[in-house]
């Protein structure tokens, strides 16, 4: 038990902590603020006036929609691929023993440890060597490399908590492999997969580096924003889109956080 006395911290530390948090988060609030400014060419502070017209302008810009649809499509498909492959890989590594198991585990995790620029260059040269034209699918492939890691990490941690005898018990009671997966494994790893999938989606949705190397002429939303900042026209539209990106990526991550926290309790009740 922690006593009240231990909880008290010096005033200086409190101020420093508050300043640190403000440094991280106030710029994000400024992004939101500039989405409503009347000045469209430069980020002038304080904004000369506030307006909601940019929401409508952004809504009516076809390039915003094209970039948004592309990003959502890429993120969804990369996440789906990662869910299937990441789960299978996690099952293999955690439920069986075979030669090279640790190596495979390391190789799967490597893409997220490597700088994105390395992954990007490697994929780009591989694609051109194999004469694969850059397309929607090359972006998906690039994103899947790191999406798999997120799903794999989540799934493998949960698999390790499932007692091996649960699977045997299910088979013993007459369930075949498919039934065992559906009734025993999936309910036990479900929240981990959902959390991993949401994180993967969020990662893919705002990915810039790997995308620049693997995309052809198409722009995903983050790349569109980067290009848009250079052009001094209708700048607040970018901010409106940024707000949407924050919402689209923040909500899944928050959801993932709560799901895995909840999952701990479910899995902990196991034995």
């Amino acid at each position: 038990m922690r006593s009240d006395r231990l909880n008290r911290s010096p005033l200086g530390l409190k101020i420093a902590a508050a300043a640190g948090l403000a440094f991280m988060h106030v710029p994000i609030l400024l992004i939101f603020l500039y989405a409503f400014t009347t000045e469209e060419k430069s980020y002038q502070f304080p904004p000369p006036g506030l307006t909601t017209q940019w929401l409508a302008v952004a809504w009516n810009r076809p390039d915003v929609w094209a970039a948004l649809t592309l990003s959502v499509k890429v993120a969804s498909i990369a996440t789906a691929v990662a869910l299937v492959l990441g789960t299978l890989c996690a099952a293999a590594v955690s439920q069986t023993r075979f030669f090279g198991r640790e190596t495979i585990s390391l190789l799967v995790i490597l893409p997220i440890a490597l700088p994105g620029i390395i992954t990007g260059i490697a994929l780009r040269s591989a694609f051109s060597m194999a004469e694969i034209p850059f397309s929607f699918w090359t972006i998906v492939l690039g994103h899947a490399t790191f999406c798999i890691v997120v799903v794999y990490n989540n799934a493998v941690a949960r698999f390790r908590r499932i007692s091996g005898s649960l699977v045997e018990a299910s088979m013993d009671l007459g369930a075949d492999g498919f039934q065992t997966f559906r009734y025993i494994i999936l309910p036990n790893i479900g929240t981990a997969l959902l959390a991993g999938g949401m994180l993967a989606f969020a990662l893919s949705f705002d990915e810039v580096i790997v995308t620049t190397f693997t995309a052809g002429q198409q722009s995903t939303l983050p790349i569109w924003m980067l290009e848009e900042l250079i052009r001094p026209r209708q700048r607040p539209v970018t901010n409106v889109v940024a707000m949407i990106v924050v919402l689209v990526t923040f909500l899944p991550i928050l959801g993932a956080y709560y799901l895995t926290r909840d999952g701990d309790q479910i899995a902990g009740a196991g034995k």
């Binding site: 045997e168 018990a169 299910s170 088979m171 013993d172 007459g174 036990n188 034995k271």
Partner: protein, 331 residues
Amino acid sequence: MTAVLFDNVSRHFGAVRAVDGVNLEIAEGEFFAMLGPSGSGKTTCLRLMAGFEQPTGGHIEIFGETAEGVPPYRRSVNTVFQDYALFPHLSILDNVAYGLMVKGVGREERRKAAEDALAMVKLPNYGSRRPGQLSGGQRQRVALARALVNKPKVLLLDEPLGALDLKLREQMQEELKSLQKSLGITFVFVTHDQGEALSMADRIAVFNDGRIQQLGSPEEVYKQPKTRFVADFVGSSNVLPARLCQRLGVTSSYASLRPEAIVLSAPRDGALSLSGTVSAHSFLGAVNRVVVDVEGARIAVASPVSLVVPKVGSPVTISFAADELHPMEDA
């Protein structure tokens, strides 16, 4: 009818011979124990019956049907796991009904069957709880109900009482035995506790190093151990070395002698005797355990507490009936 048949069955893991040339025949309705220290192959034998392991040699039959290659979910055999392996995300009722659910039995029917099974193991009204809310003994009963609800032809129990405390263990021993009698199902259980095996089983197979050392009724295994390992592992038989055997006129190189078959007095008619010195004694409640040193061989004697215990170092004569001395097969 033969419930389980092992014909020269082996299960080798690389160079490790977990099970090595085991022959056994378990009769229908029998309460069969596989007794041995850890790593002796008894659990692997159980897993071979359940179908979690496949033999690397030999032949297995379950109720006359070849078992090799048949996956666990197609065997009419159910297992009570050592760690119970209850499904943590399902209620107790759903745990018990699981086997019926995957076989496609209707919701109402399986709920009824599961409730009956829970009542049978004396856990009625526990159906809505989760495994995490139950004590170890209760979880064990649920595991039992979950296996029995499928009406298996053979029930396998892997160290079923290992995780329970002494009092609960004794109670469960009696319950398991009466349950087995009333259901008439063949029970095969694995244990490292010789007391458990002796008190519950109709027949016992004593395992060591992947082989069966002795197979027989509890009385046979206890009173006439065939090998030194069995004499040592099942209870605490004295093993008489070759030179003592020779003097007593036994042809084999070793012989076993139960401590309670020996008296600390001069021989009566026809009895055999040895002389030595008392090297230790201890009070065990019902008897005094007196250790007598006969030419370097330590022989334990269970002496009634009503008799006076001789002092340590004093010379004694021990005697026993000739038919209490059981020759053993090998070293």
